[in-house]
Subunit: 673 residues, 2 copies
């Protein structure tokens, strides 16, 4: 229903822009630009070979025996949880030579999207147009909870309703879920994350950012029909390629007022907050070698976020970007029925901004244990209510995955918990003042250090069995618990609920309702000739392998092992440009001309990490692990000249497996002999 | 005489800024910053080992048998002149295995600075303070001509008076001059200029931009006492290093009004003109393989200039730069006696601007033959006058070098001459109009193509003997010559002289006189605590080997042969990133970890190409061949964070000589065994 003929407005798709849903691939664009028309079987195969990592990230099946390939940095959280002072798989890597050596992940769930159903009519039909925005928000949420519950009861599959096009469409996505994931192989952090934070989001890169897991069911590797066949030579310059994966979040359909709010308030505030967190993690890591080991994934996470958000922020600071989005918005608004929707969203955004400091620094879940306590307190209260009256995350369909995380055996470290909790409470006190409701409930006038010490010293929540007892004991067990952290979470609960209610009633109900009105206008103008904002659900993007112009010269599309050694020697092997010992030792055995990393024009964002890149034959040619600096503005708009997806080349993965890591058998399983 | 104590003004030296004259090295700075104090013998040795290439460029003696090392791109003009369709040494390189194989350059003169004498008092003493600016300009020039003539007559050495600090000082520099230069070795253009125009002025680089000449006298290699000893390992990260060479021209002491003029009028006009020239050369090169060969050094030259000037222009567009220079100028002006000097220079600059189009497009010397004709016509007229009344370039002390160039046997190509002359005349007609005095004299109402065809078809000036006959025949021979190009130059002569007189009387006399007044103020404030603008005379700069931060990450100080192959393979060996056949073939024999290029913080500019980089022991560690993009603003101010000199590493030169080019014997001569 391309209504651009009616309105004269066309969507501004630039270059190879778009994170397309699998029900609506840009078939005409692909045909016109690349002379390629995907068959339905090809599309379905890619969808069923694509894996979502619920920790955040993507991956793909690459062997019939359940082998999943993703990024090392997607695996990092699990690697950290599997490590001990004596066996640090983050630092040393992990290499299972046989099935017996593969070790179970503590709390990793992956999903495969097995079906998609348009439920827009049902969701919108449940909304009474005569109700207030707030009532409609509740009606919509209740209907969604009924749809997912029915689906889950009927099929036993994980069932989510996904809102697309700002409420223009609703889809029921059903997932096959796996929770017995075992680690097969991971390079050393220094090889996977070569160049560290400085090189992150830059290009050229030389990162072996890959890791293999295997999916088990009933104690055995699952047999997989839809896995990606390995390409013999990998991606070639100029080749048409596709990325399937789970981009987390974009704000491309936001109003200009929302972007200006992010630019002027949201992002600067976040960056200040994140800098504090980074300082906290570094301060903890500085306490000793073991503390440094424990903090590694946190430091990576926050530095990665800071660098990404800084790039987004700098993108928003470009006046041209806002101007071009404003122009598009103005023409859409001129054609729209509800012209006041934009103004109402602007007002709600302004209102949200007034409490932004609060939402940032109220540290309900500053540490793992604190987060668990809050979740347990809410879990027992919410599950005592009828299903459709609960907070979304406690609805029946979500409980299984939630319990999987809640009862994770992953290690927690009391000294780390105490250190970080004290810091977070100190920040809250400083930023919000002693009169803030959260600060009052959390500290009761005492010092952050003292409160943190008592809470962590006294809690039993480090023990999985204790958490299970509370959940099983329900409201009564939680109400009577003497655990100081549970008692603390009980005190915070009313503050949390009041804050959340205010947000849902005053902000969300407006932005959703008015967003729906804008979506309606957009649908009237563009139909589905464009794609919805990212929602951490399966998308496909297309593009080609391509270098780019930068600083008068050309960045090459490919890097090789030669380049890795060049960079290390050029920096006299000073960290973060030093070589992992295995990598250094392998130099004379490697085919140095083998491609290591490469760039493509595909449109991706965080959450796509670990996505497969496939060629037109559907063969595995590369592993997405990053976007370049110029791609970061992609949260708001696709920059067509220099936006690039950064990937590990399939040939580099195999060469590293065989020559650096002696994992020839695994390489054979993936790529044949 | 550091009068900063008097005025409270201090010169703004940033980082490792400065192109210092050898009489005034920054001894205190070196001691304070690097704990190094050079001995006079060390300084003299470096001076006497440093070589000026009069074509434009620098070099150094690197063996006792007269071997001079410079850049391939400094040698390029000679290589082009030595090439023929059958033996293209630009493309194929040149490798003399024995002395017998070394071939003479057609017209290469080099100079070694053997003595320096301060003649400020004598030059300024000859100026009658009661005269007009115009008269003083003439008095100054006459006195300089007397000084150089006396010196030349007395010593037989090439003698130049150099104006430093905008007339704050005058120095008599005496040079040992060599004109029997023979080519020993030059890599292929594709290896020397790897990455071509896109990579020019960028970093990381992988250029084997070196060439060897040998100096002969009396048919034998000269014995050289002061040559640079080769360093065993070359430059190391962080090491203190020195560059000695001949920076061509900087405008750091110009007034802000002059810089604004360059920004608003001078540079944009030049860039437009250069783009036309580039188009002309490319159009000629497109005519065939042989034409492409002939035009190669012209295309390199103009593209190099466009890239450098674009960098300078972009530097001037930064408002912060002009603001900081304005601030320094204001405080100098406040302390100065002649406060109206700045205003007078601004007025003269504005006046010059009004005729800038004319000075740019009046193509007296658009081609080699046209230039020769004009020089011959002026030569006979000027040399008939008393020595101190002549144009500077025709004074007795300059005639030997001038005749060396005038009678060069280097090839000229009539079809190329005609093509380029027609284009230049066409541009003059278009830009200046048919009423312009030059256009009228040059075309006489006829078409540029027709005029060019007749001039080039009829001239005998391609023959060295014909040029000699005219010079020897003097004014009479030239007046009676029927050579159409000489007749053409005779018609242009009055236009040329009027234009030059206008410039000297109206512009130069003001900028020199007022510049002297500003120089006086600057001397009163700073003394010699700072350095003079570059004048294509010998300077030393100090600095250290150092990478830099760029785009969130760090550019490594060194590149290696690994990096060269990485870049070639990464670009699928597409030009200009393809490998010269010898380089490609050598891959498995090279020690790939050998350093190829590196960067330092030294302050250099065009003219420094070919300069040696030495360590504190005075050993040869690198060969300057470029500045990075961030250094180009250096024409106006040194940018301390990211200004870098780009050099070929001494180890890379030797490895390439031995392994790629089979020039082990020459490598032994340079570096020992």
């Amino acid at each position: 229903m391309s209504a651009s003929r009616k309105s004269g407005i066309t969507p501004r798709l630039r270059g190879d822009e778009g994170m397309w849903t699998f029900d609506n691939l840009p078939v005409k664009l692909l045909k016109d630009r690349y002379g390629f028309t995907p068959k339905q079987a090809w599309i379905d195969h890619l969808r069923l070979a694509s894996v979502r990592f619920n920790d955040g990230g993507s991956g793909a099946f690459v062997s019939k025996n359940g082998l999943v390939l993703t990024n090392h940095h997607v695996a990092l959280g699990q690697l950290q949880k599997m490590s001990t002072p004596r066996k640090d798989v983050v630092k040393a890597g992990f290499f299972a030579k046989t099935l017996k050596d593969e070790i179970a992940c503590p709390d990793l769930e992956v999903n495969i999207l097995v079906s998609m159903e348009n439920v827009t009519r049902r969701v919108l039909g449940a909304v009474d147009l005569k109700s207030t925005d707030k009532e409609r928000n509740a009606q919509r949420k209740s209907e969604i909870s009924r749809i997912t519950k029915e689906s889950s009861d009927k099929t036993g599959l994980r069932s989510d309703v996904v809102e697309l096009y700002q409420g223009g469409e609703y889809w029921l996505y059903r997932y096959k879920k796996y929770t017995d994931m075992r680690l097969v192989m991971a390079p050393e952090l220094q090889a996977a994350f070569y160049g560290g934070d400085p090189d992150n989001f830059t290009y050229p890169r030389f990162a072996l950012d890959f890791a293999f897991f295997r999916v088990y069911e009933g104690g055995k590797p699952v047999r997989i029909k839809n896995f990606l066949k390995w390409s013999k030579d990998g991606a070639a310059d100029g080749e048409l390629v596709f990325v399937t994966g789970h981009p987390g979040h974009t704000d491309r359909l936001n109003t200009v007022a929302q972007l200006e709010y992010s630019r002027d308030i949201g992002l600067p505030l976040y960056l200040k907050f994140a800098a504090k967190k980074r300082a906290d993690f570094l301060a903890y890591a500085a306490l000793g070698v073991e503390q440094e080991r424990r903090a590694k994934d946190r430091i990576f996470g926050v530095e990665n976020a800071i660098k990404a958000v800084t790039g987004e922020y700098e993108g928003l600071l470009e006046p041209e970007l806002i101007a071009s989005l404003k122009e598009a918005e103005d023409s859409l608004r001129a054609a729209a029925a509800s012209k006041d929707a934009w103004g109402k969203i602007a007002a709600a955004t302004k209102k949200a901004g007034e409490r932004r400091l609060q939402t940032t620094y109220r540290a309900y879940a500053a540490t793992k244990a604190a987060g668990l306590a809050g979740t347990i307190v809410r879990f027992v209260a919410e599950t005592a209510k009828p299903n459709d009256k609960r907070y979304e995350e406690f609805r029946d369909t979500n409980l299984e995955s939630l319990k999987f995380r809640l009862f994770s055996p992953a290690p927690m470290y009391p000294d780390m918990e105490e250190f970080l909790l004290a810091r977070a409470l100190e920040d809250a006190l400083q930023e919000l003042g002693s009169g803030d409701a959260f600060v009052r409930a959390a500290l009761g006038g005492r010092s952050p250090a003292k409160v943190a010490r008592e809470l962590i010293a006294g809690t039993k929540l480090f023990d999985v069995a204790a958490r299970k007892r509370l959940i099983e004991g329900g409201e009564k067990a939680v109400a009577e618990s003497k655990d100081p952290l549970i008692a603390w979470a009980r005190r915070l609960d009313p503050v949390y609920r009041a804050q959340r209610k205010w947000y849902e009633d005053e902000i969300e109900s407006v932005t959703v309702a008015e967003g729906n009105r804008i979506a309606k206008a957009r649908f009237a103008a563009y139909g589905k000739s464009t794609y919805p904002d990212a929602t951490f659900t399966l998308r496909m993007s297309y593009g080609k392998v391509s270098g780019y112009e930068l600083g008068t010269t050309f960045v090459a599309p490919f890097t090789t092992f030669h380049g890795l050694y060049d960079r290390a020697i050029g920096h006299s092997e000073k960290p973060p440009f030093d070589l992992a010992p295995r990598v250094k030792a392998a130099k004379d055995k490697l085919r140095l001309e083998t491609k290591v990393n490469f760039v493509t024009t595909n449109d991706i964002i965080g959450g796509n990490s670990g996505s497969p890149i496939v060629n037109a034959k559907g063969e595995y040619v590369g592993l997405v692990f990053d976007g370049n600096i110029q791609s970061l503005v992609g949260r708001y708009a696709y920059e067509d000249a220099r936006n690039r997806t950064v990937a590990v080349h399939s040939s580099g993965i195999i060469e590293a497996m065989r020559v650096i890591y002696g994992m020839g058998k695994l390489a054979d399983e993936v790529a044949g002999r």
